[in-house]
């Protein structure tokens, strides 16, 4: 009877380990499938400009003294 219990326990332990491995394996596969479904969307970029022209006569104007 004691031997029978030992065999039963061994079978249960093996079943437990295999079930746990199965869960981990299948969840990994499922997550890989889910992550593959994520859409890769390309970023977009665009340009704008600000500009002006400073006349040469700007040079040398003294500040705040009326020139």
């Amino acid at each position: 009877m004691a031997d029978l219990k030992k065999v039963l326990v061994v079978i249960l332990v093996v079943t437990l380990v295999l079930s746990a491995l199965s869960v981990v394996f299948n969840l990994t596969i499922y997550n890989m499938k889910s992550s593959n479904n994520k859409e890769m969307v390309r970023p977009s970029s665009n340009y704008g400009n600000v500009g002006f022209f400073v006349e040469t006569s700007n040079k040398g104007v003294q500040s705040g003294n009326g020139g």
């Binding site: 969307v41 977009s44 665009n46 704008g48």
Partner: protein
């Protein structure tokens, strides 16, 4: 003693049974996913399938701002240029040719992040004594620019910040809906009387990623 051993084995057996059931459930999910993608899997169920692609596209609908040619008025240490509709030049004789700032529209079908950068600082673009080069991002259409929680707080908007040459995030959610998909960038420049001369300017780069 034997009785307690039997109880322990029974409890263990029940635990293993539960784990096994969970394993079967996970296997079912995994197998269902697999069978739906394997060719040769026959089914009598009809299916109409379409995929709507996500597209990220932003565009400067106003891409150029130009104040033309001018200089600091005699007797003033600097002139101020901005992109507002009125009073956009002070102490100078420039003339703004297109008021209203740069405008960016989200033309895609997803909300995006809006990131901006310039290529120059005030010193490298304008030169002279105490030049200024600042920008101000606002939602041209109400609600266009949103933060990470969908609100408008803690955004670098509605205030003139020094233009940054490194990419700066302005909108966590730049929306795509037609009535709220335009953002405006205004500029405020200070041109000292001893600034560089000739053609001066900068290029503003906007980059958007799916939010």
């Amino acid at each position: 003693m034997a009785d307690s051993n039997s109880k322990a084995v029974t409890v263990f057996a029940v635990f293993v049974f539960i784990i096994s059931l969970f394993s079967v459930g996970v296997f079912y999910l995994s197998a269902k996913t697999l069978f739906s993608t394997i060719s040769g899997y026959a089914t009598s169920v009809g299916e109409a399938n379409l995929t709507v692609e996500s597209v990220v596209t932003i565009n400067f609908t106003t891409a150029r701002i130009n104040w033309g040619s001018g200089r600091v008025n005699d007797g003033f240490s600097s002139a101020g240029l901005n992109t507002f509709a009125t009073n956009n030049v002070t102490n100078g004789n420039w003339s703004l040719q297109n008021a209203g700032g740069l405008r960016i529209e989200n033309l895609g079908n997803v909300n995006v992040t809006l990131n901006l950068s310039g290529t120059k600082t005030a010193a490298s673009m304008i030169g002279g004594t105490s030049p200024g080069y600042r920008w101000n991002v606002t939602s041209f259409e109400s609600g266009a620019c949103r933060n990470s929680s969908g609100g408008t707080g803690a955004l670098q908007t509605d205030f003139f910040y020094v233009v940054n040459t490194s990419t700066t995030l302005f909108c966590n959610y730049f929306q795509f809906l037609d009535d709220r998909d335009v953002v405006r960038i205004d500029f405020n420049l200070t041109i000292p009387s001893d600034s560089f001369t000739g053609t001066l300017g900068d290029t503003i780069t906007a980059v958007a990623f799916a939010a």
